[in-house]
């Protein structure tokens, strides 16, 4: 080929979209639906993940040490704890330190008034590596001799992990199904386009058009459909996200679960949508015209 026909391919791609508008519309709608569902689950997963990260920053629990333990015994206990599976950093906090910390947060209250028992005990602050095995680790520490008591929010932590895993799994299955459906619809749209233009294609081939020359306008058409769908989906997704976020605030649920600011993630969402849309569009049209070119 002596000349790159980029302008021609793009023009043909666009005009083809408009010449069978209904099917193109259906294809765009499918892509939008696919991306919105994919996006919603991904955003939910991202937010749960974000909360988990925050939680993980506090992925420690306190193990209180028997009052009659000597400093040597405590050192030994610390070594034992460190050897346990899934235990990260271990910090020894003396009762004096703990009391000082506690009182710092409670200046307004009367001195030693209602001071909890544990405040007067030496304790270990223990970091857990894998939050999923939080309670397992707590149990292991509790089983050690010399550990009197513990304080941990294991239910919350593990609940979040379970939610995240479920959301991720569900999102992946749904996205896979929807991607296949979208591919199928795009392929059909493009097939319709090739069918509508089969005479032109026959003439092109008769004049000595290469496969690539015939194929490109349809690939471009698929790409345009995919990108249009991605753009529409992005703005819809944005609206839905903001709406859900403010609904949470209105119900006061944001104390429990609040959404990240869309401004922080919009670039990622837009990028992923455009890429997915383009990929679905190009692959779909690729499927559609593969068989057709055997003329």
């Amino acid at each position: 080929m002596r000349r790159l026909n980029l302008g021609y391919f793009i023009k043909e791609g666009f005009s083809s979209i408009f010449s069978h508008g209904l099917m193109s519309f259906a294809a765009v709608c499918m892509i939008v639906a696919c991306l919105i569902i994919m996006g919603s689950f991904s955003l939910l997963a991202i937010n749960v993940d974000d909360m988990l990260k925050q939680l993980e920053e506090e992925n420690e629990f306190l193990a209180f040490i028997d009052e009659d333990y000597t400093e040597n015994q405590i050192r030994e206990l610390m070594a034992q704890v460190r050897q346990l599976d899934n235990v990260g950093q271990v910090e020894y906090i003396t009762r004096e330190q703990a009391k000082a910390d506690y009182l710092k947060g409670h200046e307004s209250e009367g001195l030693y008034v209602n001071l909890p028992d544990e405040v007067l005990r030496d304790r270990l602050s223990i970091h857990v590596i894998d939050l999923e095995r939080f309670s397992e680790t707590v149990e292991a520490v509790k089983a050690l001799p010399g550990v009197a008591n513990h304080r941990a929010a294991s239910e919350v932590a593990e609940g979040f992990v379970a939610v995240r895993n479920a959301v991720t799994a569900l999102a992946m299955v749904l996205v896979a199904i929807l991607a296949v459906v979208s591919l199928f619809i795009i392929a059909n749209t493009i097939r319709l386009a090739t069918f509508a233009r089969r005479e032109e294609i026959a003439i092109m081939k008769m004049c000595g058009a290469t496969d690539g020359f015939v194929r490109w306008p349809f690939i471009v058409e698929g790409l345009i459909l995919g990108l249009m769908g991605a753009l529409v989906a992005f703005f819809l997704q944005w609206g839905v996200y903001v709406a859900v976020g403010s609904a949470l605030v209105e119900n006061g649920a944001n104390a429990l679960f609040s959404l990240m600011d869309f401004g922080l993630i919009w670039k990622r969402v837009l990028g992923i949508f455009m890429l997915s849309g383009a990929a679905i569009g190009a692959v779909g049209s690729g499927f559609a015209i593969r068989k057709f070119l055997q003329v």
């Binding site: 000349r3 026909n5 032109e200 008769m206 004049c207 000595g208 058009a209 496969d211 020359f213």
Partner: protein, 226 residues
């Protein structure tokens, strides 16, 4: 240039359309391919344009051996051919100019080449003032002239026409055939399929006759000369 060497064609449904055809056409020749309906004329054309492949034998077109041609070479082989059909096969929603541009763009011609070449071929086929007309505003004869212009526009070595006058009245048919003769005289090899014996008899050309997939005659002059 065409070489058919012991060419057989059996379609998937078992129809034996060609049974051992041998044919040589040299550059610059004008050849009529005649025969009754169903005798295998279009099958020969489809073999020459690589639309179908022979079941047996060798097919060589303008130096391309179609028996072992690579898929990517087929477009290049076709660019050495101009192909004309009975039903014109113009794009209805494009003007005459648009149809010719379409054919030129297919092979990657530039706008400048188009502006130079299209008026020239339109003049050649006698449609110099019809560039902006749509096919359905034209007579059959004019539409076939557009098809001839399109076949010519990429400057092929050979034109292959399958019943180009099948849809036209005798007078238009004669005009079209005369035009093809003139194009041949300018150097383009011409293979014209027809079953109109009166028309063939008006030209003193080589006539290849087939019947039931076999060649029954190959000689100079009219259809029915003994």
């Amino acid at each position: 240039m065409i070489r058919l060497i012991d060419v057989h064609k059996e379609y998937d449904n078992g129809t034996k359309a060609l049974k051992g055809i041998n044919l040589r056409i040299e550059d610059g020749e004008f050849v009529f391919l005649v025969g009754p309906s169903g005798s295998g004329k279009s099958t020969i054309i489809k073999l020459l344009t690589a639309e179908i492949t022979a079941s047996k034998g060798r097919v060589i077109v303008n130096g391309y051996n179609l028996g072992n041609i690579r898929r990517w070479q087929i477009p290049h082989m076709r660019r050495t051919l101009g192909i004309i059909f009975q039903d014109f096969r113009l794009i209805e929603k494009k003007t005459v100019q648009g149809n010719l541009e379409f054919a030129m763009r297919t092979v990657g011609a530039s706008g400048r080449e188009m502006r130079k070449r299209i008026p020239y071929v339109l003049d050649l086929v006698g449609l110099e003032d019809k560039a902006d007309v749509y096919p359905n505003e034209m007579s059959g004869g004019e539409q076939q002239r557009v098809a001839i212009a399109r076949a010519l526009v990429n400057n092929p070595k050979m034109i292959i026409a399958d019943e180009p006058t099948g849809n036209l009245d005798p007078r238009r048919s004669l005009e079209i055939m005369t035009l093809l003769e003139r194009i041949n005289a300018m150097g383009t090899t011409m293979l014209v399929v027809t079953h109109e014996r009166d028309l063939v008899n008006r030209f003193s050309k080589r006539v290849v006759a087939i019947k039931d997939g076999e060649m029954i005659r190959d000689g100079q002059g009219g259809y029915y000369r003994a």
